[in-house]
């Protein structure tokens, strides 16, 4: 149906689905989502091998790492250069479903057929589980990592805190990423209102086109940033 509508580009979050689509619909251009968890040169080569045309990497990957990654030919590389980095890596978090997981009704295969009477026999509506964002798009993140915690050490309450998270805004490194061979710069804009998203895009556009110094461009959307709650202390 997507091909009939003229859609050729699909972003996918599951390795199995990605490979199945690649084999069945070779005309699709498939992107391995950031939720696929690629971070290394070997990960990118793997996704190329299984049929991805592009892969999205998190903005935690540096230009130096990217130079090595771009030695992999035959796949485009996108980087989420402006994003919120939560404590747990994208695609590697099941904390929400540890706390809360409820079955919810499956949507009808065809909206005009809510009871599923005309659906193929093996896809009758039923119940599906919620869970993490990896569960085929039915997941839900209710940001439990952003709730305050009490930290107990050997049974003693030692602190109350949040999991660390930070805003990654690597506008100052746009040129470095371009020189490293990145094909696409990606901004995490899904949760931003238009009034914040527009200046954010304008700022990066100027930085890419060389029409503004990185500092000037950064100031244009400073209000779209979250306060840095922590310092990177190594890995």
């Amino acid at each position: 149906a997507l091909l009939d509508l003229g859609i050729r580009d699909v972003i996918v979050n599951d390795l199995g689905i990605l490979t199945a689509l690649s084999r069945r619909f070779p005309e699709l251009r498939l992107t391995a989502s950031i939720g696929c968890g690629a971070q290394t040169v070997a990960d990118v080569a793997f996704f190329r091998d299984v049929g991805a045309h592009a892969v999205v990497l998190p903005g935690t990957v540096s230009p130096a790492e990217m130079r090595e990654i771009r030695t992999v030919r035959g796949i485009s590389v996108e980087i989420m250069i402006h994003m919120v980095e939560e404590f747990v890596l994208l695609g590697k978090c099941w904390m929400p479903s540890y706390v809360h997981l409820k079955p919810s009704p499956l949507p009808a295969v065809f909206p005009s057929d809510p009871d599923g009477a005309d659906s193929p026999e093996d896809v009758r509506p039923g119940l599906r589980q919620t869970g993490s964002m990896k569960r085929g798009g039915v997941g839900a993140c209710f940001r439990i990592c952003q709730q305050p915690w009490e930290l107990y050490v050997s049974g003693r309450r030692m602190d109350a805190r949040l999991f660390p998270s930070r805003q990654i805004s690597r506008i100052a490194e746009v040129d470095a990423y371009a020189e490293a061979g990145v094909d696409v710069l990606k901004l995490q804009g899904r949760s931003l209102p238009v009034e914040l998203l527009a200046p954010l895009v304008r700022g990066y556009r100027k930085a890419i086109d060389g029409g503004a110094t990185p500092a000037a461009a950064a100031s244009a959307f400073a209000f779209a940033e979250l306060p840095a709650a922590w310092a990177v202390v190594g890995r």
Partner: protein, 324 residues
């Protein structure tokens, strides 16, 4: 499952040990196999994955006891991990490791292309959610699969029914819930006067309201211990034969005593008996600091317990919630 089931009494009970010190003080009599290494952190104390002389010695110790020695690998590597991963795999092959556990797809590609003689077990962080995913990973040499921890037994059965893939299930211990690139415990080095790598050796729980999780620095685990003791007959009847007791962050006493319970219970279940000893519960409850849960196996939230033991609570923090 559709595949021809192996005899009920031919099962594997395995666990994880991160370093040589822990291995030397661990009584492995009730285990059939051991995964060597810590998947979360390169600077975990004397991690087998970095100390390759220790790894060689660890493989020897495990095999001298008649057990299978597996090595594990990092769950979230970066480029600069990969040269060491290659050396570790080379060492594992030379030392005769029986298999490698892989959570990361790039490492899977390296293992498949450069160390094809090493059978691959797919770990829980590899995100096996679908039968299609299993098929892809098989093409890269995988012979055993730990499905994502979020999947229910019903969903796991759906995946395995068509392809007959051997599955490994966590039957007891703290279930991985996430992994980070960073260790927030390092922020406490000065404040607590405890340096890395001793920090994550402490018993660290993060608590909010009526639920809790365990921190191992870069890794987040369930606060409660997954416990499938009551359900072993079902697991065997459904064709499962590979069972893990996760003890990477536990004491040698936990490793030994919990394994003794499960070995006895599995032997009994394989013989067609389902009675459980009261003493077994006492052992499990004593070691479960927050309490017991079933993980996601019954389609409920990971911290719920669906069984006849709703009173199973831990010794550290009283958690009253039983089912959502």
């Amino acid at each position: 499952m559709n595949r021809e089931p192996e005899a009920m009494n031919r099962f594997e009970l395995n666990t994880t040990i991160a370093n040589l010190r822990d291995l030397r003080v661990s009584d492995l009599r009730d285990y059939d196999a051991v995964y060597l290494g810590d998947i979360y952190c390169r600077i975990y104390e004397a991690n087998f994955l970095e100390q390759l002389g220790d790894l060689r010695e660890g493989i020897r110790i495990v095999q001298d006891q008649g057990k299978r020695a597996y090595v594990t690998t990092y769950a979230a590597p970066r480029n600069d991990f990969l040269p060491r991963v290659r050396k570790m795999l080379e060492t594992a092959v030379e030392a005769g490791a029986h298999a490698v556990e892989i959570h990361n797809l790039g490492i899977l590609k390296i293992a498949h292309e450069e160390f094809p003689q090493l059978p691959v077990h797919i770990g829980g962080f590899a995100n096996v959610y679908t039968a299609a995913g299993v098929e892809v990973l098989r093409d890269f040499g995988a012979v055993r699969f730990t499905p994502n921890y979020e999947l229910s037994l019903e969903e796991i059965d759906e995946i395995t029914r068509g392809c007959g893939a051997p599955v490994e299930l966590l039957v007891h211990g703290k279930m991985p819930l996430g992994i980070s690139d960073y260790c927030f415990l390092l922020e406490y080095e000065e404040k607590w006067g405890i340096k890395c790598p001793d920090l994550c050796q402490k018993e660290l729980f993060l608590k909010q309201g009526d639920w809790a999780m365990k921190s191992v620095g870069k890794g987040i685990l369930s606060g409660k211990d997954v416990c499938m003791l009551e359900h072993l007959p079902r697991l065997l009847a459904e064709g499962h034969r590979h069972f893990r007791i996760e003890t990477v962050s536990e004491t040698p006493a936990y490793r030994r005593e919990v394994a003794a319970v499960y070995r006895a219970a599995l032997d009994r279940a394989a013989a067609g008996e389902s009675a459980l000893e009261e003493g077994w519960w006492e052992t499990l409850a004593r070691h479960a600091r927050i309490g017991l849960c079933n993980g996601f196996y019954f389609g409920k939230s990971g911290m719920d317990y669906a069984g006849i033991r709703p009173e199973s609570i831990g010794s550290l923090l009283t958690i009253s919630r039983v089912e959502s």
